[in-house]
């Protein structure tokens, strides 16, 4: 080994050391802000609940986890399915799924429209899409309430147009949740889709038409496969926060149409069952993980590297 090689090796070692040093702040943040709290949650979920909230430290219990899916009969102490919990979990998954589909249906043409404008006008459209983010989520949700409530703008407009005679009951239904979440999460679908479509080589679209594809076939066989990364990113960005939505179902769904986020909040609040809340939080995370794995596997399949 000559001197130059040794020097190179030493430089590489030093490089590695300084890299670790430089990443220390990030590692500390990850530990204290993400890994640490998660461990606390995991710990709490395996403890007995305290009488006034909190947990009884050192007292191991699986009660928190069993209560996610099961409930104890108050008379004979047998276990039965916790129907309320199951229906709330199922509703959360369903609503998140339909929200993703709806934002996709609305977001795809929007993103396509923006991506096909001349470059300088594109920026203006993207800017317009992000404007709602400037307003607090709570305020936007209350604004939605004003639109869909009994004497709200939507009902008034429909009556004025003569489409309906009686106002529709939208507030405090799953439809209200769906409309609210679609409205709030739409930009999260539009932006990654736009980024993907903007990168699309439109000569490939021309090639599609040239080879006898109809508009629909070009969309299905050329455009969608090529913008799939954006499609997946957008779906993840919408599905995950939808699953944990809290403010929207609280304001628009009311007490009857709770979602997972509200159920968890209840356990830490009036329910005074922290182990259950912690177990449910981890369940929600697991659901998100499952969704993510599903998406990622879908994305890698047949992805020939067109980013």
């Amino acid at each position: 080994m000559n001197g130059a090689q040794q020097a190179a090796l030493a430089a590489r070692k030093k490089d590695t050391r300084s890299r670790w040093l430089l990443s220390t702040p990030a590692l500390l943040i990850i530990f204290f802000a993400a890994v640490g709290p998660l461990l606390v949650m995991l710990l709490y979920s395996f403890m007995a609940k305290g009488d006034y909230g909190d947990v009884r430290f050192g007292e191991f219990s699986l009660e928190g986890w069993t209560s996610v899916l099961f409930q104890r009969d108050i008379f004979d102490d047998t276990l039965g399915f916790a129907d309320a919990h199951l229906s709330i979990i199922w509703r959360s998954i369903q609503l998140s799924f339909f929200t993703t589909i709806l934002t996709l249906i609305l977001g795809f043409p929007t993103a396509y429209f923006i991506a096909t404008r001349p470059p300088h006008t594109r920026e203006i459209w993207v800017f317009l899409v992000t404007i709602p983010f400037w307003t607090n989520l709570l305020i936007r949700t209350f604004a939605m309430q004003q639109v869909i409530r009994h004497e709200g703008m939507l009902n008034n407009a429909l009556i004025w147009l003569g489409i309906i005679k009686q106002p529709l009951q939208i507030m405090y239904t799953d439809t209200a949740n769906l409309l609210g979440m679609t409205y709030v999460y739409l930009p999260l679908m539009v932006l990654p889709l736009y980024a993907s479509i903007e990168k699309l080589d439109f000569r490939l679209v021309e090639a599609g038409y040239d080879l006898y594809a109809t508009r629909f076939q070009v969309l299905r066989r050329v455009v969608i496969p090529l913008v799939k990364p954006g499609l997946i990113a957008g779906s993840i960005l919408v599905f995950i926060p939808s699953l944990g939505a809290y403010v929207i179902p609280r304001v628009l769904g009311g007490g009857k149409n709770m979602m997972l986020g509200n159920l968890i909040e209840m356990q830490f609040g009036s329910g005074r069952n922290w182990p259950l809340g912690a177990a449910m939080s981890i369940t929600l995370m697991a659901l998100v993980m499952v969704a993510l794995i599903f998406y990622v596997r879908n994305a890698s399949r047949g992805g020939t590297g067109h980013a």
């Binding site: 490939l204 021309e206 038409y209 040239d210 006898y212 594809a213 590297g305």
Partner: protein, 366 residues
Amino acid sequence: MDQTQVKSANGGAIGMRAIQKWFGTFQAVNDVTLDIRSNEFFTLLGPSGCGKTTLLRMIAGFELPTEGQVLLDGKDISSLRPNQRPVNTVFQNYALFPHLTVAENIGFGLKMLGTPKSKIDGVVKEMLKLVHLEGRGDNAVTQLSGGQQQRVALARALAPQPKVLLLDEPLSALDLKLRKSMQMELKRLQLETGITFVFVTHDQEEALTMSDRIAVMSTGTVRQVGTPWDIYDRPAERFVADFIGETNFLEADVVSVSGNKARVRLSSGAEIPATFPTDLTPSGKVTIVVRPEHAQVSAPSPASLLQGVIHEVVYLGTDTHLHIRLDDGTTFMVRQQNARSGHSGFSKDDTVGIGFSDDVAQILRD
């Protein structure tokens, strides 16, 4: 669409009638009327921005003419969408679908036409063989070299057996050697398939090598249409003569015209016969062209048509170029083939006489 029409192996004839194309205030194509015959290798040649690609895109259907008509076998197809025209394109950057394999790319057109899968497989196999890519069907197109991608693009466009194949500078991204072999390849494919090829290029050599006929374009208009020989030896105007190859322009006076031959007097006083474009009646002062390889240099004598002094000798391996300043001040170039090894026999500052045979001078339209 009419399936049988796409399947027919005979090349279609393209007619362009008084085509105008405006992009906003820019006129890309100005009153082009052109006939491309069935089964021919036709080239649109011109510098960038001359409107040749726009013309091609109007045949494909990607652009609609602002005015005028595009005819295919006599039928007006101007308003048909690209997928309704039995015409396929080989794009400049190939535009292969990156998410599909080689075989899927080639079979795309037939699949869109609703051809049964078993039949597509057969055609794809045939096409792979035609472009020498046997066994590469399952490769991702991104794994192929530029030359191979080029051949996939060709196979993809030929697979649905179009009536006309449009090629938009398909060789420009290849290196010189590959380009030469692809030129031969394209010519072979055209002869084998009998499909009309419309080829767009700015490379005059490419055009001369492959084409049955060439249309030379500039600033949105067609300047001259003819065989490579017509274009090279009988250019109709200065732009064509200048764009294709190297040439000498000489001022001359028309002495007499009879039939399709004229006699002109050169600045030296010598009188020579000259040909001219059929739509021209030459008279008075004219410009004539003489190609450098059609002129010979000798010691000055009364038989010399022109006389001058050599001011530069450029040795090019196969040829030697002699730049001669004529007595009237213009520069004249003579290309000598270096048949024998060694010196051309003339050197700088020699006074020489220039001669050329009776059939090489051509009068230009002004």
